[in-house]
Structure formats: structure tokens, C-alpha cells
């Protein structure tokens, strides 16, 4: 109660000052717009649009085009054939009992997406909640938030590889557990396993969940929470009826980050899984290495479609634009 109150009183002088500045700012801008040619906005958007066109749209178009080409070991030839897509889904619809490579690969990827999403959401939400509602002063909030970002000062490959000496057969975890007599033989599943991959992914990407959720939480009007308490809501009811609905956009944005990154990840899965676990990225990489560009392009397009579909599904749940 007292903490919400404090923040509220602090906020008052700031908000009282805003309208004056905003009003004068609006007046100035209105005068200026009449002098501005209509194409200025386009000009302002042009650099970014150009960057997008050159480095995103064009390569994407090229990828789509190449995915319909023919190839040999040493050349790719313009054509319009669907064989690459047929190869991607080779054996998928033949009705055999075993799953085809592509479906098995996507299934394994989806498994990691689900595990990592649940874990990062739980950890990310908790961390953001703590920072936002339990830490009382702004400087402390900023300081603790910076602490969360410290691991990101090193490259993510290094953060991932540092797990290896910890989890290995003769690693720190195994030696400690053996030292205190909890286990007799080293745990083999700690490294080069699904566990290791999930652990590393959660470790790498939790911050992508923390930041947008924290951002959404900070915008919650404390008066709403106070009102919930006054109306007799329990802590849990406040959480589920007030806080969670209001941080939905943050959750969705964080989820988009995590889901898209994990779907396309092949480095973490490769290193932590000892290259024994398939990922779509790795399939594409080995095809590129063997100069099979068209089938690699077809795989990339399928991957893109899967990711877009996931994002579309998530955006259906929350209208981010409205909430922002």
C-alpha cells in the first residue's frame, strides 16, 4: 500500500508539468506542418525502407525464386519445378509409420519451443514482477535491471559454451554430486542431451521475455492495483484479473522473440546437443555446404512460413497495436 502511494505522489508533479509542455509543443508543430511538403514523411521513411528493400525484400525474393530452380553438384539452373519442395517433404505423406525427416525435425524443434517458452515465461514474468512491484525505488530498479543484462555483455556463444565444463562427464556438477555422495557414476544426460539444449536456450533467451514484460508492467497505473485491493481482491485475483491482462502485450512480444529465435536456432542445438539433435537450421546449413542451394532455399521458405504462422497465431490472441 505505502509503496504504491509513494510512487503515486512522486508521479504527480511530473504529470502536472506535462500538459503545459505538450500544449506548447503541439502548437509549434502545427505551425511547422503547414510549411512541410507532403513528401517529407516518405523521405523520412525512405532510408529504413531502402535498407529493408535491399537487405530483406530482395534476398527474400531471391530465395523464393531459387527454391524453384534445379541444381546439380556444381550449378544451379533457372527453372520452375516443385521438386525441391517435394524433396523437403520426402516420405511425409507416404503413410509409413515412421515420421519423415522434416516432420521429425520440426517436431523436435517444436518440443524445444514449448519447453523454452514455458520456462522463459515463468522466469521472465517472475523477475519482471519482482523488479516492478517489490523493488521500491527507481534507481534500484534500474540497477537491478542492469544486473540482469550483464550476461549479455559477452557473446551468446561464450555463454553457451561455458555450460560445457560445468555439465560434462568430468564437469563441475558431476564432480560435486559425486563428491557429496549423491551419485556413484557421472550423470550422462547433463550434457549433449535435450536437457542441455533446453537449459542453454532458457539461459540465453530469458531476458527477451523479461524486458517487454517489465516494460508493460511499469506502465500499469498503480491506482488500478490499489483499487483492486480496496475492492477486496486477493493478491492472486489482482494478479490474474489486473496484472496479467495488462501485461499481455509484453508477454506476446516476449513470446514472439523467444519462439522465433528458438525455431531458427541451430547453433545452440548443435553445440549443446552434440550435433545429435536435428534442427531445421542445421539441415539448411549442410545443404548449403554441399551447394544444394535450391533445396536449402525451399527449406528456408518452409521455415519462414512456419514462423510467420506462429506469429500470426500469437497476434490473433492479442492486438498489440491497440495495447501499445
Amino acid at each position: 500500500m505505502s509503496s504504491t502511494h509513494e510512487i503515486e505522489t512522486k508521479a504527480i508533479p511530473a504529470s502536472a508539468g506535462v500538459p503545459v509542455a505538450a500544449r506548447s509543443g503541439a502548437r509549434v508543430r502545427r505551425v511547422r506542418t503547414s510549411w512541410t511538403p507532403w513528401w517529407t514523411a516518405y523521405l523520412q521513411a525512405a532510408p529504413m525502407a531502402l535498407v529493408f528493400l535491399l537487405f530483406f525484400i530482395l534476398p527474400l525474393v531471391a530465395t523464393v525464386v531459387v527454391s524453384f530452380w534445379n541444381y546439380t553438384e556444381y550449378s544451379i539452373e533457372p527453372a520452375f519445378v516443385a521438386t525441391n519442395y517435394a524433396d523437403v517433404f520426402y516420405g511425409c505423406f507416404s503413410g509409413g509409420s515412421a515420421l519423415c525427416t522434416t516432420f521429425a525435425t520440426y517436431l523436435s524443434t517444436l518440443k524445444f519451443v514449448a519447453i523454452v517458452w514455458v520456462a522463459t515465461l515463468a522466469i521472465g514474468f517472475t523477475v519482471a514482477y519482482f523488479l516492478c512491484f517489490h523493488v521500491r525505488t527507481l534507481p534500484m530498479q534500474i540497477a537491478l535491471f542492469m544486473v540482469c543484462t550483464i550476461p549479455f555483455w559477452t557473446s551468446n556463444v561464450i555463454r553457451m559454451i561455458s555450460w560445457i565444463p560445468l555439465l560434462g562427464r568430468n564437469g563441475l556438477v558431476n564432480e560435486t554430486l559425486q563428491g557429496i555422495g549423491l551419485i556413484d557414476a557421472p550423470l550422462e544426460w547433463l550434457l549433449y542431451s535435450d536437457f542441455a539444449v533446453a537449459l542453454a536456450l532458457v539461459h540465453l533467451y530469458t531476458l527477451f521475455m523479461v524486458v517487454p514484460i517489465f516494460n508493460s508492467m511499469m506502465r500499469i497505473d498503480r491506482a488500478l492495483i490499489e483499487a483492486a485491493y480496496d475492492a477486496g481482491a486477493t493478491g492472486w485475483q489482482t494478479l490474474t484479473n489486473v496484472v496479467i491482462p495488462l501485461v499481455k502485450p509484453g508477454i506476446v512480444i516476449g513470446s514472439i522473440f523467444v519462439v522465433t529465435i528458438v525455431t531458427g536456432d541451430y547453433l545452440t542445438i548443435g553445440i549443446m546437443g552434440g550435433q545429435q539433435i536435428a534442427s531445421v537450421g542445421k539441415v539448411i546449413q549442410s545443404q548449403i555446404n554441399f551447394l544444394q542451394f535450391p533445396i536449402a532455399a525451399a527449406n528456408a521458405i518452409v521455415l519462414l512460413a512456419v514462423v510467420l504462422l506462429t506469429i500470426w497465431g500469437m497476434l490473433r490472441l492479442v492486438d498489440i497495436r491497440k495495447e501499445l
Binding site: 546439380t72 553438384e73 556444381y74 550449378s75 524433396d87 520426402y90 525427416t101 521429425a104 525435425t105 523436435s108 560445457i164 565444463p165 560434462g168 562427464r169 568430468n170 550422462e188 550434457l191 549433449y192 552434440g274 550435433q275 545429435q276 539433435i277 536435428a278 542445421k282 539441415v283 549442410s286 545443404q287 548449403i288 555446404n289 554441399f290 551447394l291 544444394q292
Partner: protein, 427 residues
């Protein structure tokens, strides 16, 4: 261009170390080829290959002896082939593996080297030219260099059936690969490729995740175990590929493998950390584990070795001036010093006679004759490799190269094979 500049800067900074080697080299027989009298600035050769083959000392020495600038372009094995095919104007000299040739040659981007302009062409090791060691034919499964060495004409895009005046690649380095083991963590002897799939090493074996090489190691293991016989391990039929991958999937599901690796350093780490006690390995990786003070052996096996060879090729797009310089550089490369430099890292070289002349007798005896080292064996950078008394794993050149069973290869069914390999990884 920025890239090139960066390389020369870093090379310059390495010259301090290289100077010692250059000094050593002064005692060796100097190149007999005259420095060309060019009024223009020094000619620069853009040398495309993997980083392993790019010794700063060789570039430095070539610069001093020939007045040619060597600009290294370092990429991975797969990227060498990719670059030859997709960016044929971006280099003047390529050092690539023979097994890439069935892909590179039809692209029309590389051309033959004129044997008449290579002074020591007829002294190139017989294992490369004819597939023989000491008069005896070695195993030629896969893309053996002798099968892809000759071209009917300079710009041909198909191989010649018999020896001609035009060579696809002039060998730089070659060697015979086998399994690496940790003798301190293994009970009993390992003498067969079958050990790779032996349940005794369940959860402690590793394989290469480079499909074209990995599948050959698997084929060596399966045929050693007597499960399968192959017509040509380096050029399998679809049925052979299916059976091989089937057996690999079975082993993987049974938990045979701890990990797969693609990068040389990964294999070093797997071995040094004890995660893996037996795996397909490359010779410099074994050396790297040993320099950490960890016992690691490049174990000779009764079925023989899987060999590889790498060599110089020329891009079709090369200019005359660079072409002359490239021939000059290749001739210099074969003349002894460069070969000795590479041989001291464990590689075999194109012209054994000149390599021998450029090495100390005790070094030659250790590296090529399989004799115990009379004194400490040092790497070219002066680091201690082996103490006096040690012998090389696998023995002499004749014993090692003479027992080659197959060569790194690209199969006719390569596309199918990669699809099956991905199935194996996903299983």
C-alpha cells in the same frame, strides 16, 4: 579488399616468429628459380584455402625468395569449393582437396596445370600419380587422386582416362586418417575400425558430422564388423547408403555416440575433456590433444586408412601475369623448403626427394621412416612435439600410405546420401 588488408597486417605481426624459421631456412637449399625482373610492383597471388594450410612462414619465405605477395583467403573446407564455384574471380590460386574435383571441374571454373611448366612434375609422389606406394597399389575406393589427376586439355571439364600433360591439382599436402583413441581411458587394444561401433564404447564414441567423410568412416566400421560389403566405399549405391545409414541410426538409438563434430577444434575438446575416448579424428587434432599433455593416440587399424590429398589449382579467369607467378610459386613450393615446413606438422608432401633434402636427417627419420626420434622433435614454430625416443603413430611413410584403403570422396549419389544423413541426424 578490407579482408585482404587485415590478413597482411596480422601476417606482418606474426613475422617476428617467422623470422626465426626464415633464418633456419637460409641453411636449407635455396630455390634455383630466378627472381623475375619486373619493373612493376610485386605481383600478388590471392591464395584460397583452409586456414590449416596457410602458414605465415610460407608466405614470408615466398615473398623473400620470389618477390611474390601471398594474400591468404582463409575459409572452411566446404567454403573453398563453394567459393570456386560461386566466386571464381576472387582468387588466383586455390588449395583444395582432390575429392572436390568432381564438383569443381564440371563448373568450368578451374583449369589444368601444364606439366611442362612444373619442373618436378614427374617426381610427384607415386601414390598421387599412380595410386602406388613402393610399387604396390593401394586401396583406391573413393575419389583417389590418381583417378582425377589428368585432363585431356588445359580447359577440359572432364577427366582424362590416362596420364596426360595437364594436371588438375598439384599436391600440397596429403595424409592417411584413422581413429583417435585415449589409451588411458580404454581397456585392451583397439585394432579395427569396428571399434567405432563397438558397444563397449557406448556413449563414449564420436563421429564427424561432415556427411561425405562421416559415411566413409561408418562404412569402414561396418565392413570391418562384417555387416556389409561395399563395391566402392567412396561411391556407394543407394542400397548401400540405405543399409549404412540404417546401421548408424540403430547405433545412435542405442546410445553409441556421445556427440558429432564438424570443426577440428570440437574433436580436440571432446577428446581432451574425456567425453569421448574413441572417434574419427584428423592428425593435427591428435597433436593438439597431446600438446595439452593428454595421452592420445592416432591408432593404426588393420583395415587400413582413409586418405585425403589436397593440391593447387588455377582459376580459369586468371591473368597472364598472375598465372606466371602462380607457376613460379608452385615450382618453389615443390622445391623443398615449403614441403619440409609442412612435413614438420605431420603432413606428407608432393615431392619427397626435395622434402628430404630440406629436412634435418633426424627429422626425416622420425617423420618419414618411422624411426625413433634421435632428439626432441620440434614443430616449425619451435614448440616441442615429441621427446627424443618417440616414434610416429603408424610408422613410416610406406607403412602408412601403403595401407590406405579408401580416399575422401564425393559420391555419384551425393544428394541422396545427404538426405539420408540428415535422416540419421534427426533420428
Amino acid at each position: 579488399m578490407t579482408r585482404t588488408t587485415q590478413f597482411s597486417v596480422s601476417r606482418r605481426s606474426l613475422l617476428a616468429g617467422g623470422a626465426a624459421i626464415a633464418g633456419l631456412a637460409a641453411t636449407a637449399k635455396l630455390s634455383a628459380f630466378p627472381t623475375p625482373a619486373i619493373a612493376q610492383e610485386k605481383v600478388t597471388l590471392r591464395y584460397l584455402s583452409t586456414a590449416v594450410n596457410q602458414s605465415p612462414a610460407i608466405a614470408e619465405k615466398a615473398g623473400a625468395d620470389l618477390g611474390i605477395n601471398i594474400d591468404y583467403i582463409a575459409v572452411t573446407t566446404d567454403d573453398v569449393a563453394k567459393r570456386v564455384i560461386t566466386q571464381p574471380n576472387s582468387f588466383d590460386l586455390v588449395d583444395t582437396e582432390y575429392f572436390a574435383l568432381p564438383k569443381l571441374l564440371p563448373s568450368g571454373n578451374i583449369m589444368g596445370l601444364d606439366a611442362k611448366r612444373i619442373k618436378l612434375a614427374d617426381q610427384i609422389a607415386s601414390v598421387i600419380r599412380e595410386g602406388t606406394v613402393d610399387g604396390k597399389t593401394v586401396g583406391l575406393d573413393g575419389t583417389a587422386p590418381s583417378k582425377v589427376l589428368y585432363l585431356p586439355s588445359e580447359q577440359a571439364t572432364e577427366f582424362a582416362g590416362e596420364p596426360t600433360e595437364f594436371l588438375t591439382l598439384i599436391p600440397t599436402t596429403y595424409n592417411a586418417d584413422t581413429l583417435g583413441i585415449r589409451p588411458d581411458l580404454i581397456d585392451g587394444p583397439v585394432d579395427s575400425w569396428a571399434a567405432l561401433l563397438d558397444p563397449k564404447f557406448k556413449g563414449r564414441a564420436a563421429m564427424l558430422n561432415i556427411p561425405s567423410i562421416g559415411i566413409m568412416d561408418a562404412a569402414m566400421a561396418l565392413s570391418a564388423r562384417g555387416d556389409l560389403t561395399y563395391g566402392d566405399k567412396g561411391n556407394m549405391t543407394r542400397e548401400e547408403i540405405d543399409k549404412t545409414i540404417g546401421a548408424l541410426i540403430e547405433a545412435k538409438r542405442a546410445g553409441q555416440f556421445r556427440a558429432f563434430w564438424t570443426d577440428f577444434n570440437e574433436s580436440v575438446n571432446l577428446m581432451a575433456s574425456g567425453e569421448v575416448v574413441i572417434q574419427s579424428m584428423w592428425s593435427p587434432a591428435v597433436t593438439a590433444v597431446r600438446t595439452q599433455g593428454i595421452d592420445c593416440k592416432y591408432q593404426p587399424l588393420k583395415e587400413g586408412y582413409r586418405a585425403w590429398a589436397s593440391g593447387f589449382g588455377l582459376p580459369v579467369a586468371i591473368n597472364d601475369r598472375e598465372k606466371d607467378a602462380a607457376y613460379e610459386f608452385i615450382n618453389w613450393f615443390l622445391s623443398g623448403w615449403a614441403g619440409a615446413h609442412l612435413a614438420k606438422q605431420g603432413y606428407y608432401t608432393a615431392v619427397l626427394e626435395t622434402t628430404k633434402e630440406a629436412m634435418e636427417p633426424y627429422e626425416w627419420a622420425y617423420w618419414f621412416e618411422g624411426k625413433p626420434a634421435e632428439q626432441d622433435i620440434l614443430a616449425p614454430d619451435g614448440k616441442l612435439l615429441e621427446k627424443a625416443g618417440a616414434t610416429r603413430d603408424g610408422g613410416s611413410y610406406d607403412e602408412r600410405m601403403g595401407r590406405v584403403a579408401c580416399w575422401n570422396a564425393v559420391m555419384d549419389e551425393n544428394i541422396y546420401m545427404i538426405r539420408k544423413w540428415n535422416e540419421f541426424i534427426a533420428a
